[in-house]
Symmetry: C3
Subunit: 279 residues, 3 copies
C-alpha cells in the first residue's frame, strides 16, 4: 500500500520525519512516497496544484496525505475522501479541490454547455473517530497526530466509514478564472513553477470552448506579444517567450532555457490577455 | 529494518545518494527513510532538535544515522548507541544529546528536586572495528565510509558490541538554558523553525517546576507583550503573536498565519522574559 | 530492483511525484530512491557530477534515471545505457558522461601515455520504441512520459535491445580541463558544493601523471597561497583554506568549518594555479 505525503513543512525541523515514524509504526508494510514538503508556507493553492500534477499517476487505492493547514487548531474539519481511484486525507480547506476535479465542476455549472466533462464521484467523512488518532493530539501538529495515523489505518484496511461522520460538502478553493474582456480572455497566473514557467488559469478544455474553430490567437503580456500557441519550448529561440498547454493541461508561458517569472516580471504586472486574431 | 538519515549535506551534490547506495548494497532489505538533509551546515543543535522531533515516533529498533560532522578528520570519535527503543550512529559531538534525554539529565542533576524524570538507559561503542567500514575510508566523508556501512551492518543483525570498544561518556551539546532573573525567567531561542516559529529552551517540565501553582504569566519580547499561554495558534487573531507549548514539548512563540522570526526580529534582540503576574 | 532519480525539478510542483506515480503503477515492486531533485535548472555538469558522486555505490543493476533536459522537445535523443554495473536512462546530452568515465576517456586519448585507466564498456539504445512510453507523450515532460516508464519496464525485465535502436556515440559533456602553464597547472572550479567546497577539474590520476615524483606543491588562488596538499580539513586551523583530494577523487579547496566559495570569491576571479616547488 502506498501513502504519499505533501506538506509545507520543509524537512529541516524533523516534522515530516515524525509523520513518517508514526506511519512506519502503525503500518510497517506501507510504502511512503514524498510528493513534496516544499509547498510555500500555508499556500493551499500551490498544494492543490502539486496534488493535481502528481496524484493522477499513482496506482489505484494510493492514499494521499496533504497537510497545508493554516487553520490547524481552529474549527476547520479534518477529512478523509475516497474516490474510485484514490484516498485523500487532510484538512478540509480546499487542498483537494483540483485533484477531485471540483474546481472544474464549479466552473462547468456556470459555463453549462459542455456535457463531456466527467467528474470524479467521491465520498468523504469528517475524521471524528478519535480512536484512529494518536493517543494524545496536540493543537498544532495534526499531520503527526491525526492525518498520519488515519492514513496508516486506511493502509491497513480500515474502512472510510469507520473514520467518522459522512459529509456532503467540502470547502472550496478560491481560484482565479479567465475573464472575458473585449474580444479576448484575461488570464491569471496561478503559480510560477520551479523553472519560472507561468501556469495560468486557462485549461485546454476551456480554451476549446472559447476558440472552437481554432482561430489564430496571440498572447499579450504587458507590452510583450507571443504569436500563437506552440507545442513545445523548442518552437522559439532560446531566451524568447513561448506559450503552450503544459503537461498539466493548463496554458503556460515560459522563456526557452530561461525563467519567465523573472524575465517578464514587469510585463506581468500589466496583465495577460489572450486574443483571437481577425484574418 | 528501518534506517533513517539526518544530515547537513543538502542533496544537490549526490553525497546523500552515495550513502543510500552503500546501504542498499550491504543491506538490500533495509528501508531507508530521509528525516532531513537540510540541517544548516555544521549546526549540531539544529540536528539534535530534528532528531528529538522525529525519532521518538519510529518503530522500535529503528537505526538513526546522523551526520552533522564539523569534526570529520579530527580525533572526534565515531559512535553507535543502543537504547531500549532505537540505535543511533554518527559522530560523538552532542548530536544525539537531546534524543537520548541527556540534555535534560544534566539540567536535572543541577535542579535536583524532581525525581519524576526518567532517563533513557543507553550503551555506546566507539566505532573502532574497521571491518565494518568501507574498505577505503576517506578523511572527509565518514557518512559514506563509516556511518552508512555500520548502520547497514546493524540492520543485518551485527551486535553493537562487535562494532568497537564500549565507551561510558558521550560529548555534551552546548545548550542554552532558561536563566532566573528578577521574578522571572530569561528564555533563549534554540531555533526558528520552517514557519518562523521560535522554539525556546523552556520545556513543559521546567515550566511546571517554575510555576507549580499555574499562576497567570506574561511573555515579554523586547517591547511586545504576550498575555498568557495559549493552547493553539487560533487563540489569537491572524498576525498576532502567541505563546504555547509546541508539539515537541518546548515553549514556542509564533505569529498566527505569519513568521515570528521575521516579525519580531527587532524585539528578539532585546531578549525574552517570562514573568509570573501578581493578582 | 532499485530505480534512482536525479532531476533539476525541485519537488514543489509535483513533477517528481508524477514520475514516482508512473513508476509505482508500472513496477510496483521497484524501490525508488531519490538522489537529488536540486540540481540547478538545466545545469548538466552539476547533474553529471552528482551522478558520478552517487551511482558507483549502488548495487549492480540499479537503474539510474537522470532528467536535466534543457533540450526536451527538440531533436535531442532519449537514451538508455547498460554497463556491467548499472543502467542509465535520460536525455543524450552529456549527463552520463562522467559516470561512464567518458570524460576521462577523452582526456586520456589526448594524454595517451597512461594505459592503467580502465573504461567502462557500455551499450546504448535510442528510445525509439514508443510502446514503452506512456500512451500520450507531452512535448515538455519526458521525465514522466518517457524516462520513468522506460525505467519501470527495465526494472520489470525488459531488455535494453527492446527499447529502441542501438547507438554507438553519446553526446559529450563540455568539461573544463587543467591547462599547462609556466611550471604549473591552471585549474578550474567545476562546482561549489553545498558546503562551499570548491571541486576542481584535477583528478588524482592526472595529478600523479603531472607530479610523478610527488614533489612539494603550492596552490595559488589569486593572492592566497595554500602550502601543500592535506589529507583532511583538520590539517589547518578553522577558517583557513585547505586543499585535498576529496571523496570523489578530485582536488578540492575548502575553508575549514567555513565556506570557501564565499570566503575566496574575490581571489577565485583571478584563477587557481598549482605549482611544483623547487627545493
Amino acid at each position: 500500500m502506498l501513502i504519499t505525503l505533501t506538506t509545507d513543512f520543509g524537512t529541516a525541523d524533523g516534522y515530516v520525519g515524525a509523520m513518517k515514524g508514526v506511519i512506519a509504526r502503525l503500518a510497517p508494510e506501507a510504502q511512503v512516497v514524498d510528493i513534496t514538503h516544499e509547498i510555500p508556507a500555508q499556500d493551499i493553492l500551490a498544494g492543490a496544484l502539486a496534488l493535481e500534477t502528481a496524484c493522477p499517476f499513482f496506482p489505484p487505492e494510493t492514499i494521499h496525505v496533504a497537510v497545508i493547514d493554516p487553520g490547524v487548531g481552529t474549527s476547520r474539519a479534518a477529512v478523509a475522501i475516497q474516490t474510485p481511484h484514490a484516498f485523500f486525507v487532510g484538512p478540509d480547506n480546499g487542498i483537494f479541490d483540483l485533484v477531485l476535479g471540483a474546481g472544474t465542476r464549479r466552473r462547468k455549472q456556470r459555463v453549462s454547455e459542455d456535457s463531456s466533462l466527467r467528474f470524479s464521484a467521491w465520498t468523504a467523512v469528517r475524521l471524528t473517530n478519535a480512536s484512529y488518532y494518536r493517543p494524545q493530539v496536540s493543537s498544532t501538529f495534526h499531520g503527526r497526530d491525526i492525518f498520519a495515523p488515519v492514513a496508516a489505518h486506511l493502509a491497513r484496511g480500515v474502512m472510510l466509514s469507520e473514520l467518522g461522520e459522512p459529509i456532503k460538502d467540502l470547502v472550496s478553493l478560491a481560484l482565479p478564472e479567465p475573464e472575458k474582456s473585449r474580444g479576448g480572455l484575461k488570464l491569471h497566473v496561478l503559480r510560477a513553477d520551479h523553472f519560472g514557467n507561468l501556469i495560468t488559469d486557462l485549461t485546454a478544455q476551456e480554451y476549446k470552448r472559447w476558440n472552437p474553430k481554432n482561430a489564430a490567437v496571440a498572447i499579450e503580456i504587458g507590452t510583450r506579444r507571443i504569436a500563437g500557441l506552440s507545442s513545445t519550448f523548442a518552437d522559439v529561440a532560446p531566451g524568447e517567450p513561448v506559450a503552450y498547454f503544459g503537461s498539466g493541461g493548463r496554458l503556460e508561458i515560459a522563456v526557452r532555457n530561461g525563467d519567465a517569472a523573472k524575465t517578464l516580471s514587469a510585463e506581468l504586472a500589466q496583465g495577460i490577455a489572450l486574443r483571437r486574431l481577425r484574418r
